[in-house]
């Protein structure tokens, strides 16, 4: 516990507050863009539309994790330790999408 303060924040409270509000507006803007795109592309059913929405979701996730959850300022080891295991999810998505094509084909 003694080195607790030593490890924490180096940025001033004012900077942090500014960062928080900037992140808030980015997240709000991205959500508005999401909804706007949904109605613009409502008649489109291609895979790239889904990819576009997932990418926008990942951008929002980046801002939440890096600023709100303070990940951007943590030690490199911790970042790798949390982020790399999530790559397995990508593997699962790839497997399940291939498998669902098959399920749809035999239905």
């Amino acid at each position: 516990m003694e080195n607790h303060e030593h490890l924490e924040h180096t940025e001033s409270p004012k900077d942090m507050k500014k960062k928080i509000w900037v992140t808030f507006w980015i997240l709000t803007a991205l959500t508005v863009v999401d909804i706007g795109l949904y109605f613009m592309l409502i008649e489109n059913h291609s895979m790239w539309k889904n990819v576009l929405f997932i990418l926008l979701g990942l951008v929002k996730a980046y801002y939440i994790v890096s600023i709100f959850m303070h990940m951007k300022f943590e030690a490199k080891w911790l970042v790798n330790f949390i982020i790399y295991p999530m790559l397995f999810v990508g593997f699962l998505i790839a497997l399940m999408l291939i498998e669902s094509e098959f399920t749809a084909a035999i239905r």
Binding site: T31, Y38, I42, I54, G57, I64, E74, M86, M96
Partner: protein, 251 residues
């Protein structure tokens, strides 16, 4: 001179002992590990949704109901008759989630769920402001922001209760779905229910932390790290909602 040498040895041996390689306290590290495992759970649920969704043909493009227009008295039955809601096609989210409290008979697609998203984003902001105030040991500010966060969480839960009530009133059950394939309603209840339960737990934990802040527990302890830990959990709940929103309502 000796000071410099000490620093370099420390830098070289990240895993050499004497300090945390993650430069983080035990409690926060454990919270991160818990959140990682929880992220896997939610990923599995959303991948399951993607799997089922991908086995069905794409929804029929909506050409008959425009936003803000008046809708048919028996909207669901009408949509079944005109072939928009069939058990062999995935329904268009826009046509399923088009209600708004106190406004009846008007097509308001995704308006309510967007409101829920903004509520959750805002409660995330108040949470991170509480964490920031905690670093300055500003007890009153922490307490104020914690109250706002709790209110945000409660508002979100209320919205979700309303959303579920509407969905159930229209005939959706775990084993029945008037809008399309049965799995659509089942997955909706399971995933938003699991997320809603996380929000509920978050609100309960936030209330406990808030009472501790008022009692001066963290002021005596000398740091507001507990607020940071519950903050991590709260932001994670917001993070999950980003993906629930993307998969259930946008795709």
């Amino acid at each position: 001179m000796s000071h410099t040498t000490a620093l370099t040895t420390e830098k070289k041996n990240t895993w050499g002992g004497g300090k945390s390689p993650f430069s983080i306290s035990y409690g926060k590290l454990m919270m991160w590990i818990f959140l990682l495992s929880d992220a896997f759970t939610f990923s599995s649920l959303l991948v399951a949704y993607g799997f089922v969704r991908h086995t069905y043909p794409s929804p029929v493009a909506n050409e008959i109901v425009k936003p803000l227009s008046h809708v048919h008295e028996n909207f669901t039955e009408h949509m079944q008759e005109v072939g928009y809601f069939t058990t062999d096609k995935w329904p268009l989210p826009e046509l399923v989630f088009n209600h708004f409290p106190f406004i009846h008979g008007i097509h308001l697609p995704l308006f309510f769920v967007s409101l829920m998203t903004f509520i959750l984003i805002f409660s995330s902001v108040t949470m991170v402001l509480a964490v920031e105030a905690g670093h300055r040991m500003a007890k009153k500010e922490v307490a104020m922001y914690m109250v706002l966060t709790i209110l945000g969480g409660a508002a979100f839960l209320g919205c979700q209760a309303w959303e579920w009530t509407t969905f159930i009133t229209e005939g959706a059950r775990l084993d029945h779905n008037p809008f399309g394939p049965m799995a659509f309603a089942a997955l909706f209840f399971i995933v938003t229910g699991f997320h809603g339960f996380h929000v509920f737990s978050g609100v309960v934990i936030n209330v406990i932390i808030y009472l501790n802040v008022l009692a001066g527990t963290y002021e005596k302890r000398g740091h507001y790290e507990m607020v940071e830990k519950v903050g991590l959990y709260w932001h994670f709940v917001d993070l999950v909602w980003v993906f629930v929103f993307t998969f259930f309502y946008l795709i």
